[in-house]
Symmetry: C2
Subunit: 694 residues, 2 copies
Amino acid sequence: MGWKWAGQSLVKPLYLPAFLFFFIFGGFVRSDEGMWLLNDPPKDLLAKRHGFELTQAWLDKARLASIRLNSGGSGSFVSPSGLLLTNHHVGADALAKLSTPGNDLLTTGFYARTRAEEKPCPDLEINVLMGIEDVTDRVEGAVKGISDPAKASGARRAEIARIEKESLDKTGLRSDVVALYQGAVHHLYSYQKYTDVRLVFAPEGAVAGFGGDVDNFEYPRHGLDICLFRAYENGKPVESKHYLKIQPAGPRENDLVFVTGHPGVTQRLETMDRLELRRDHLHPFMLGWLRAMENSLAQFAATGAEPARLAAKVSHSIANSRKALTGQFMGLCDGELMDGKRRGEAELRAKSNFDGLDPYRAIGQACTKQATFHREYALIERGLALDSDLFTIARHLTRMAREDKLPGTDRLREYRESARSSLELSLFSPAPIHAALEKIRLTAGLAYLAEQLGATHPMVVKVLAGKSPERRAQELVDGCRLADVQERRRLAQGGEKAIESSTDSMIALAKAIDADARALRKRLEEEVEEPERQAQRAIGLERFRILGRTMAPDATFTLRLAFGVVKGYEVDGKLLPFHTTLGGLYGKSTEHDNAVPFKLPARWLERKGRLDMATPFNFVSTADTIGGNSGSPVLNRAGELVGVNFDRNRHGLVRNFVYTETQARHIAVHAGAIVEALDKVYDAGELLKELGIR
Amino acid sequence: MGWKWAGQSLVKPLYLPAFLFFFIFGGFVRSDEGMWLLNDPPKDLLAKRHGFELTQAWLDKARLASIRLNSGGSGSFVSPSGLLLTNHHVGADALAKLSTPGNDLLTTGFYARTRAEEKPCPDLEINVLMGIEDVTDRVEGAVKGISDPAKASGARRAEIARIEKESLDKTGLRSDVVALYQGAVHHLYSYQKYTDVRLVFAPEGAVAGFGGDVDNFEYPRHGLDICLFRAYENGKPVESKHYLKIQPAGPRENDLVFVTGHPGVTQRLETMDRLELRRDHLHPFMLGWLRAMENSLAQFAATGAEPARLAAKVSHSIANSRKALTGQFMGLCDGELMDGKRRGEAELRAKSNFDGLDPYRAIGQACTKQATFHREYALIERGLALDSDLFTIARHLTRMAREDKLPGTDRLREYRESARSSLELSLFSPAPIHAALEKIRLTAGLAYLAEQLGATHPMVVKVLAGKSPERRAQELVDGCRLADVQERRRLAQGGEKAIESSTDSMIALAKAIDADARALRKRLEEEVEEPERQAQRAIGLERFRILGRTMAPDATFTLRLAFGVVKGYEVDGKLLPFHTTLGGLYGKSTEHDNAVPFKLPARWLERKGRLDMATPFNFVSTADTIGGNSGSPVLNRAGELVGVNFDRNRHGLVRNFVYTETQARHIAVHAGAIVEALDKVYDAGELLKELGIR
């Protein structure tokens, strides 16, 4: 339910030479770092470093061909008929929802040989960025002179809701105000939205995710992590005038390439206090939750083929996050890395002038406050204790009924009018909900709740109601009728009255903890986020004054442009090549006796003889990416698609905090491998024709 | 290294009707509850409930045929030539140590067709209980009148060391003073010890642990969880005059059976404050550690066949503990169960007279103190942060050098003279140590250290030395030479001088944290254990006065006698039979497409036709067992072996806190299945002859 970003994220520490920090933070030399805003692109940098003239036409085409998926990734149009290319692991959510006990598309893959065979995805939404407008003055104007953070937070939220509503009314586009530079700047993003998206092609999971958790975040890599969908409007394929042409020749070594996509979250501009809060509180808490969930899902999956199928999609995403967070945590514990960051902060701070105020200290105080209730917030308001689709639906129904009585400017953000249709898409999704999986996830979440807060904590007492986590999870799932979409619609239409009189177990729980959950959110917004936003604005303005806009803002799951150079790198004295080959895929499988997770699909074994083993398979570049960039097109100077980004290597796992070109790389599927596989493994001649290859 | 108990332990909650607690604690009715002391056996109870006259001869034979293994389990002599029977999962430690990359005995199993082929285990020690003496008066006399807990703790330890040393000198037997009833009573246990133990027979891991983690703690069950060793002395098989004869007919439904073995730990006589400490602090902490370790080991195992082999033994034991602790935690969170315990405590407390003192309150205070440093204690002194064989060796060498300079009465318990030879057996074991596995375990442990205490905690700073957990683990393992037994001997012989001048990475770490670790141990002993021991003595004496010795003491990994009735039970209205069959094994495997963990070994598939499918395979009884009882013989009235205990069902997982006969059962391999398998699957005619079957 709702928006999140899946996909690539972080594993092993990066040992950045200390001097590099000085230069980066001092602004003396520049690297290929940066997830740049499309309305503030690095034209000068590209001209100076790479002799490339970035034209508005190039940029506009890249923007209009790039898409965002609500399953948490990126993609691009690759034909004039709405065909869009992303990663298999971004499409996985849709693949899982389209699967049935006898027919697991995640495993078997899928190919619609005709348009009639294309499978409509129950709740997939894609967005194309149509415009960006700087609304900083309006947002800041609304809070100016308000010293009480609670009031400032409210005024800010109301102004943002007004801006979004006005934009929606004027343009009909999905309209989101985005806080950049930790809240120093606000931009309004408007998107064309498509909600009729159909599955066209997916390879078998075993070749898309070849190497599984073992190879995730590793290189050399051999994955055909691609998936093709088609966007429809009014029952017809979208006419996607702006699409990327696939260039099977791919990139050569040292070529300049670009990545347009939607990086989810980075923390490079965060202060040391916040990084330390992450290291000592937030990350350990999240790692504990991820391990508990992964552990429970693994036990469930081991009980049989059908449980394994149900657990697969969630498990992959949990394992991915666990590996990413582990890598981040290793970096946060690394004295060298943290000392480098510390020096950079001290240097900038020494040059800054805050008129006697100390925004760094204000952030430190906010972090200290957050440490006291971050677990309650994450468990109860973010819902980690209640990791269940049924509960998520119950909470949405409960809150929607209550929020809809308020004016749009006063509502919680997810219930504002401009976001309503996206919310309803997921809320009324016909995607199946499996009681057994719900119980497993809920048991794990409730147990973690009791472990973290202690059984006598008032929230634990309220949520568990005197039962063990396992018994309570059973009772909650068995007593809930929200798996039925009609029941959801009935409650949504019935409004507050229907909710208040409902005795559904999950609705009852959502009602019982709503006030507490809202109070936690209010506390976070008013005691942490608002003071931090104001402090970050002060720091950001000083950074702009001292260094200019030499750093892109941290990632916000909005469209960014990254660039880099295709090149290999050295590990322990050994040079890793800039690309792998299809031959390498078969070699690695043989080395592991064709055993899971290195087992190749039957079709790939049968058709081995047809394939050109020298075909480049995956390649790496220095372009700056992070989780959310999964599925992003990799473009050449001509704006052609030469690859599809799908991961970072383990040296890139600390990219949340620091960028380096030494060993960190993103990893992409080579366009040539896509064409070779579609042609010789999947007999997908029609697709190749549409892609303009034939 | 060292003594621990593996094996069966606890998963799903037990919902004991509340009234039962009243009766149990009120002492009005009696059940089959009890892990009884061999010198205080339940003669009256057996006579009244089961019409069985327990004779001293019966008891003596059972005692002298029963053995304890230092790999953490129980077993029994089953032939006059030192042949001993235990569980496969108790023998697993030895099987792993005897395996090599090309020859994994855990997987393939093993059968020595001649005595010459029997494989000597590197560090397996077995004990036979020769005598028990009540030394309560001596121990209590030594602390009498000492009000300072630190001094009392020291005086108690010194007196215990004296008693043990005197016994060792007098008898030559391994001599351990054991605290019973939470320290209210002290007994001296003396053991005949055998350290030349050789592997005779083990089935394939896939049939011994059929169903893996999925079926662990579940019933109906189908596991051939057995392993045969032979004890030697002076190069010849031990003449085991007292051995149990195998009775292939096994038990019939409703038969009375007995279990003699070494239950590890229970907490039934603990006060509510301590149970709440477990629920809110100790269990969540341990569960987090177990999940972190299991998760890391699973990732390591997935990288290839050899890593999988290395990880297997540790993984199984970690998964077993995780499942057990999860079940316990569910019970501790269960309002009904805890309310029942609370009522029982209140009832006894109301009848007690403590002369104005309040021992319950004293325990509550001790628990409050323990909560403030239990994590530091577990991580640094128990060594969970340093989960590495190399570190364990380094710590032993470091401490041995220092402790050996003190008189025996002042030493840490594990370095007392009466335990020296057992310590050296493990310290100088030639069992291989694998650097890759060491790094994985250590990385996980060090990460958990930083997660739990925060990176700026002085102990974390000291242990990580500015590096990430991963880098630090690599550095520690790469810089350590203690995998070489000769190097260990050299350092042990060199004493304190050799240790102080050693620059070995692990020795250096052991030295660096030794003072802190000892301080934590001292704090636990003096601020928690000693006050609690004194309070428990007061409570225990009152319990004896009010109820008589109607309850056995909590488990202490010493020999106990349990009894019960062989019978099935009902779950969700369905009656589970008292035994399964060999036919059921094949049926279950087929149901799961013969896929792991339900995949049968090739030999079992080939020889299916020879087997009598109606042969009883596993059976259950109400006898009271817990982890440590693994491998215990199950005896009939005639003192014949009718089965080998190997697990409890999930309803028995809360047995740590409360016993019930409603659904809780222990699970045993049926003697008939052992004979059928040895005969028809393994062609082990010689063994059957020795067992007196042919």
